[in-house]
């Protein structure tokens, strides 16, 4: 039998030699958590408490406790919604698009990235519910036969968004779960007691037979092929929530690609922010190598350039169009009330990632971590600039206004990070945080004949 070992990209993980080493190293993350983990979980739980308190207060007192008022009817809630949907995108990019392109560095990152996607969409999905104010009417978004004989307006981008985000959540959750099945089965075969029972149910009795692998592989390719256009469509639809309106600063055809690039940019940065501590705490240095971070930094740099180009072209077109109102809107962005938000956005998204041109920066994990946090902040402010400055400065000067986020809104914003972090922390202890089976695919297979030839 001739099996070529050269065809396998063994060079990505030079320190991993045996297949069962992967199980040993990755499943270690599922063992008894340390003090640090419990502390982080406690902080996250406290943040969720803050989140629920603030939201409860808003439900009790009404939407007036937020800073939302005419003319700025969309504020921190919609900003944060777009932020979290954007974060979600790179997870699907890494797990589906890079899978179809056979990128050799995705295997060890994609599980964490995909988990991030699912939890980020879960977080994002809460914000429209918070934003609508009267939560108990939120089910009106869903088309169902009702006593009023009314259906949602399918010509509205907001209804498209409901469909896009729910589809995205469902498909990414299914994709994530499916990918975990063989790895949870691996955890099951090493576990005892309660975990054994839990993993037996979660892995659906997976054994890794030829028949299972055969259909699994094909199903996974088709899901990736479906998720790829989905991820591009979701943030396009989110951008149309804005672009379809005639608000100056929103009504632009560039919005869909600009939003998709921004989403991937922020998402990759978030993957770096999350995996750097994870790698350190669980000792996964042999799996998440500088090669992986180098590739992610390049992806960050590339999307940062697209995003910065979009900023410049927006400003250029506002000037070039000769539209007085459009020009005033963009002048207001740079030098108006919210100038600081615009400049944070430009510096964090356009200038800070320039550092990624240097190999030394791309290969320095602490530098990457710090820059990724700048990008996260910058991308939140990008959405803030788009949502708030545009609405505060529309057509008629008497209808201009200033929006100030209230304490309730800021508490909910902070709480959303804790809610996201809470799920991510649980994930790292419950599901193998690195895809065991996909890693084995790129390791050289054990060969008897080769071994005999060597000895």
């Amino acid at each position: 039998m001739a099996v070529g070992t050269q065809e396998r990209g063994a060079l990505t993980h030079p320190d991993v030699t045996r297949l069962d080493d992967v199980n040993r190293d990755v499943l270690k993350a599922l063992s008894k958590p340390g003090k640090g983990w419990w502390m982080l979980l406690g902080i996250a739980a406290a943040g969720i408490g803050l989140f629920l308190t603030a939201w409860g207060w808003q439900i009790y007192r009404g939407i007036g406790v937020s800073g939302l008022t005419s003319p700025v009817g969309w504020g921190v809630y919609i900003t944060t919604f777009v932020f979290w949907v954007g974060i979600a995108h790179s997870g699907t990019l890494i797990s589906a698009i890079l899978f179809l392109f056979r990128a050799p560095w995705r295997q060890s990152i994609y599980r964490a990235a995909e988990a991030m996607t699912v939890f980020a969409v879960m977080t994002a999905g809460l914000f429209p519910l918070i934003h609508v104010g009267r939560l108990w009417h939120a089910y009106w978004l869903i088309p169902y036969p009702n006593s009023r004989f009314l259906w949602p307006n399918f010509k509205s981008p907001l209804v498209w968004d409901v469909f896009a985000v729910t589809t995205y959540f469902t498909v990414s959750a299914v994709f994530f779960y499916l990918g975990t099945i063989p790895d949870v089965a691996a955890a099951r075969d090493r576990a005892i007691g309660f975990r054994k029972k839990l993993y037996t149910i979660m892995s659906l009795g997976w054994q890794g037979t030829d028949r299972q692998w055969h259909h699994f592989g094909k199903a996974y390719i088709f899901l990736a092929a479906l998720a790829t256009p989905l991820v591009l469509s979701v943030h396009s639809v989110v951008s149309w929530d804005f672009a379809m309106a005639i608000v100056p600063g929103w009504h632009a055809t560039i919005f869909a690609p600009y939003f998709v690039a921004g989403a991937i940019f922020s998402g990759v940065a978030m993957v770096i922010t999350l995996t750097v501590p994870m790698r350190k705490i669980f000792g996964l240095e042999a799996y998440l190598t500088t090669k992986h971070y180098d590739a992610m930094a390049k992806l960050c740099l590339f999307t940062s350039m697209i995003v910065f180009y979009a900023y410049l072209s927006e400003f250029f077109l506002a000037w070039y169009s000769g539209e007085e109102i459009e020009r005033a809107s963009f002048w207001n962005r740079l030098f108006g009330t919210y100038w600081w938000a615009t400049w944070i956005m430009l510096v964090c998204n356009g200038f800070v990632p320039i550092m990624f041109w240097f190999k030394r920066v791309r290969h320095s994990i602490p530098a990457l971590f710090v820059i990724s946090i700048f990008v996260n902040i910058g991308m939140w402010f990008e959405r803030y600039v788009i949502v708030v400055t545009s609405l505060s400065h529309e057509y008629e000067p008497f209808a201009w206004g200033i929006y100030r986020p209230s304490i309730t809104e800021m508490s909910i914003l902070i709480g959303s990070f804790c809610w996201f972090g809470f799920w991510f922390l649980l994930f790292t202890r419950l599901i193998p945080p690195i895809a065991i089976q996909e890693l084995k695919e790129v390791l050289p297979p054990p060969m008897r004949k080769q071994k005999e030839a060597q000895s």
């Binding site: 039998m1 009314l150 692998w213 899901l223």
Partner: protein
């Protein structure tokens, strides 16, 4: 319950050789275990196209059709002119139809996978090596009497780590 024999191998080439020799000896129902999708094993067993793709296609087309049908029907059910657009304005329904295509296609793929690979299947297998999810490969043959002895001989020739008799489920 029928009986069979399960061999665990440490090496990929031994596994593939065992499968090929078993096939030569006329064994039909060979089951192989691997810790990851191994195309050499699939190749040795002679797999063709997986019918999962039919599920995906049918699901996706159903999604497209129902996306357009639902938006059109609800718009004509209570006709309201919105934004000066026609009552049935196909371009505005494309995003809905697209999302339904992906949703139905993805869910149909998962259903197809579950049906074809007989999941979920939580009843414990009688012979199964927990090392199959770690680093070992396995070959299982359902046979009894002299055929079982013949299979044992072929499997033994490739130096398995372990040979076990018993019954593996489906």
């Amino acid at each position: 319950m029928s009986t069979g024999i399960l061999a665990s191998y440490e090496y990929l080439d031994s596994t593939v050789d065992a499968i090929e020799n078993l096939k030569k000896a006329g064994f039909k129902e060979i089951k192989a275990y691997a810790p990851y999708p191994e195309h050499h094993i699939e190749h040795a067993l002679g797999y063709g196209q997986s019918p999962v793709r039919v599920f995906t296609l049918v699901g996706a087309l159903t999604g497209t059709a129902s996306g357009f049908a639902f938006t059109t029907w609800t718009s004509t059910d209570w006709p309201l002119v919105v934004g000066g657009k026609p009552i049935v304005s196909i371009p505005a329904f494309v995003p809905i139809a697209f999302e339904m295509t992906v949703l139905f296609g993805a869910l149909a793929t998962v259903i197809g996978l579950f049906i074809l690979s007989k999941l979920p299947n939580v009843k414990p297998a009688v012979v199964y090596d927990p090392e199959f999810t770690a680093g070992r490969y396995g070959v299982y043959i359902e046979a009894d009497g002299s055929r079982l002895e013949e299979a044992r001989k072929i499997m033994n020739a490739e130096e398995p780590i372990e040979l076990r008799e018993g019954a593996a489920d489906a």
